[in-house]
């Protein structure tokens, strides 16, 4: 017998309230886990209540930020349901759906591997695929397998739905070929391109196996490619950024070309990777009916999502949190830090829990070397601090300048002690190390707990408070 939706949602919501009351966590996934267990079809039925349907963003890197930007673009147009705290597995999406009362449109960031299941339940009217890098092979298996599953998701999209892809990622461009209802985005600014980096993933054409010719690469394997084997090549995107000016950690500005008009955008988030996130959000916003001024306004008003280049004042000092989680993302973080002048002290916290990826060998594929010029002290932290220290030792950084402080909270204190008043401490944590730091910062009153911020983000996006 199927449990009536009203009962299963009530039980699931109570679980979330219990989780918050017991201060064990924010209840961003527990209610959904309970709901999925009670009634695996509940998410699909809750999603059907959204009168404007749902949109999904997936990517290896940048989905939380892209989703935050899209929410800002759409905030004045729709009351949104979403998962701004980054709980992006099926349980997190189900939890968000429990909070849909009054919402018109669902906007969800979804984990790469969870995408098939979530897309099946939500039947999105728009799907935005931002990039596919190798990340957590221990959890996802091989990149090809993931691309294959995404192919299945694209094939299963309803007729009339819109597929938004990053045309600079050849694997995603391939997925979209021949389909009607596609919006492609990309970067058109050769000044910011370079050769394909060693950590690049999609070197070989997924159609014929021949190595791509890269005219230039912007971030990882995202760039201008063509296949000498079968002739497959990047085409001119529908929405693109050009005349990009990077302003170090402060942000960037660029010309955003939409199908009908061109606008200047000033982004408060750093690096070329955030230009890609902005393009994904602009393309998705455009697909969902946003006007150019709403797109520009939304992008410009977006602040860093939860630990992604987030600044927090601590007394006279400022903390800058830059999430790292895979080689391409970490390389971009390094590039951004170096562009602003390498700090003397740097804290890097490497954990190896499931959400971080249990295989930490990825740190050997990160180009940390540019940081060594100017860095005076590395505080290696996290459960795998020792390997991080070893990585820097083999990079040529003197052992005497490396401190091992495994607990992130203590590493933060040590870093702050080494930071002068008025100065900035840069901390690069992996995902669960960032959660640990956020918890400490909340306990000390420097930042709100993440679930409160998630609730506020929901409120700001026009959604009423979650029911009691």
């Amino acid at each position: 017998m199927r449990i009536p939706l009203v009962i299963s949602t009530l039980v699931a919501r109570s679980a979330g309230a219990g989780s918050r009351l017991s201060r064990k966590g924010g209840g961003t996934t527990l209610p959904g886990r309970v709901l999925n267990a009670l009634d695996p079809g509940a998410s699909a039925r809750l999603a059907r209540r959204l009168e404007q349907g749902s949109a999904i963003i997936s990517a290896t890197n940048g989905k939380t930020t892209s989703a935050a930007m899209t929410a800002a673009i759409l905030a004045s147009r729709y009351r949104l349901a979403g998962n701004p705290a980054g709980a992006n597995l099926s349980s997190g999406v189900a939890t968000a759906l429990l909070h849909t009362r009054g919402a018109e449109l669902g906007l969800f960031e979804v984990d790469e591997a969870a995408l098939p299941r979530v897309a099946e339940a939500l039947k999105p009217r728009a799907l935005c695929l931002g990039n596919l890098f190798r990340d957590q092979l221990d959890r996802y298996g091989e990149l090809e397998l993931l691309a294959e599953r995404w192919r299945g998701v694209v094939a299963g999209l309803a007729v009339g739905s819109t597929l938004i892809v990053n045309e600079d990622d050849p694997q995603l461009a391939q997925l979209a070929r021949g389909r009607a209802g596609v919006i492609r985005f990309g970067i058109e600014d050769a000044r910011h391109g370079g050769p394909l980096p060693h950590a690049a993933d999609a070197r070989y054409c997924s159609a014929c196996g021949v190595a791509y010719d890269y005219r230039l690469a912007y971030v990882g394997h995202l760039g201008e490619y063509s296949c000498p084997g079968c002739g497959f090549e990047r085409s001119k995107p529908d929405i693109w950024a050009e005349a990009i000016t990077l302003e170090g950690l402060a942000g960037s500005s660029f010309q955003l070309h939409l199908p009908q008009e061109t606008l200047s955008v000033r982004l408060g988030l750093p690096g070329l990777y955030n230009v890609y996130n902005a393009l994904a959000a602009a393309a998705l916003g455009h697909a969902l009916g946003a006007r150019a001024d709403e797109i520009a306004g939304g992008l410009e008003s977006t602040e860093a999502a939860f630990g992604r280049s987030e600044r927090i004042a601590i007394g006279e000092k400022e903390l800058l949190l830059l999430l790292i989680k895979n080689p391409t993302g970490a390389n971009e973080v390094v590039r951004t830090i170096v562009a602003s002048g390498t700090p003397k002290t740097l804290v890097i916290a490497l954990n190896d829990r499931i959400a971080d990826g249990q295989d930490v060998s990825w740190i050997w594929d990160v180009d940390f070397e540019p940081l060594l010029d100017g860095l005076e002290r590395l505080i290696a932290s996290g459960g795998r601090a020792a390997e991080l220290a070893l990585r820097f030792k083999y990079a040529g950084f003197p052992e005497s300048q490396i401190e091992l402080v495994p607990r992130p909270a203590e590493a933060l204190d040590r870093g702050l002690a080494l930071t002068e008043d008025g100065g900035e401490l840069v901390v690069c944590p992996t995902y669960t190390a960032m959660l640990e730091l956020q918890k400490v910062l909340a306990e000390r009153g420097h930042a709100d707990p993440y679930w409160q911020r998630a609730a506020r983000a929901r409120e700001e996006s026009g959604l009423p408070r979650s029911p009691k």
Partner: protein, 256 residues
């Protein structure tokens, strides 16, 4: 006088997954700290191994990349065997390890031929073997080492009878999850599933493998081997929770 060590890195464009670059960086660093110059030569599909190579490195790749190089590697049986007979040392990790055996049989029974240099074969199995792994091995007689890394493989590697494993599994899966064996050794050739990268966790490797150039090397070999390896890892059980002695030589602060 600098002695040059010539390293042939097979298929650097295809087999380069997770930390193979780390292995090369570690080899370079270890060589340089011994006063040797590491000459790295990338060897792609259709290209010959450089003559007089001292080290051959073969990394791991995803299925697609492995399929791209497998036919070429299968044609190198004599070339690689000759280099090994000539005294070269070899390290093959994960996919490279599998393809140095006689072949890889996938779940539909299709056989991908290997180079047949190592006495083993690999068959696809149910589920992947993923996680931290530690093994005990005896690279030099009487000297037991605990070596750790990360493994992530779907294939089960079966050693021929009489073949020598790299070590015995202490924790993790190893070759097939059943035999208790991990990796394979044939003279100075080592095949293993351990990445992480493996060089930093095979303390001292390839110090013991460089005897080939014995005339040149013994004259200039440093007296203390510890000075050139991760001293804290020698004969020490690595622990992976950050509380262990893995990086005991680094300054420590904070928690006990």
């Amino acid at each position: 006088m600098t002695t040059r060590i010539r390293l042939c890195h097979l298929y650097p464009d295809q087999l380069n997954i997770y930390a193979d670059r780390g292995n090369i960086a570690v080899l370079r660093s270890r060589a340089e700290r011994r006063g040797y110059e590491l000459e790295m030569i990338g060897v792609g599909v259709g290209e010959a191994l450089a003559p007089e190579c001292d080290l051959i490195y073969l990394g791991g790749g995803q299925d697609r990349e492995q399929a791209l190089i497998a036919p070429d590697l299968a044609r190198r049986t004599e070339e690689i065997s000759a280099a090994l007979e000539d005294g070269a040392a070899l390290l093959a990790v994960c996919g490279g390890y599998q393809l140095l055996g006689r072949g890889y049989r996938d779940r539909t029974g299709v056989e991908m031929p290997g180079a047949g240099v190592l006495p083993l074969e690999t068959v696809a199995g149910e589920g992947r073997m993923i996680g931290d792994v530690s093994i005990e091995c005896e690279l030099d007689p009487g000297e037991m080492l605990t070596v750790v890394g990360f493994e992530n493989h779907g294939g089960r590697t079966l050693l021929d009878s009489g073949a020598v494993p790299l070590g015995r599994v202490v924790s993790g899966f190893g070759n097939d999850g059943e035999s208790g064996f991990e990796g394979c050794r044939l003279g100075k050739a080592i095949g293993t599933y351990l990445h992480g990268p493996s060089c930093p966790v095979i303390p001292g490797w390839p110090t013991g493998c460089l005897d080939r150039r014995s005339r040149a090397l013994s004259a200039s070999r440093p007296s203390s081997r510890n000075s050139t390896t991760n001293s804290s890892t020698r004969r020490t059980r690595w622990r992976w929770d950050g509380r262990g002695s893995a990086a005991g030589s680094f300054a420590r602060r904070g928690s006990s």
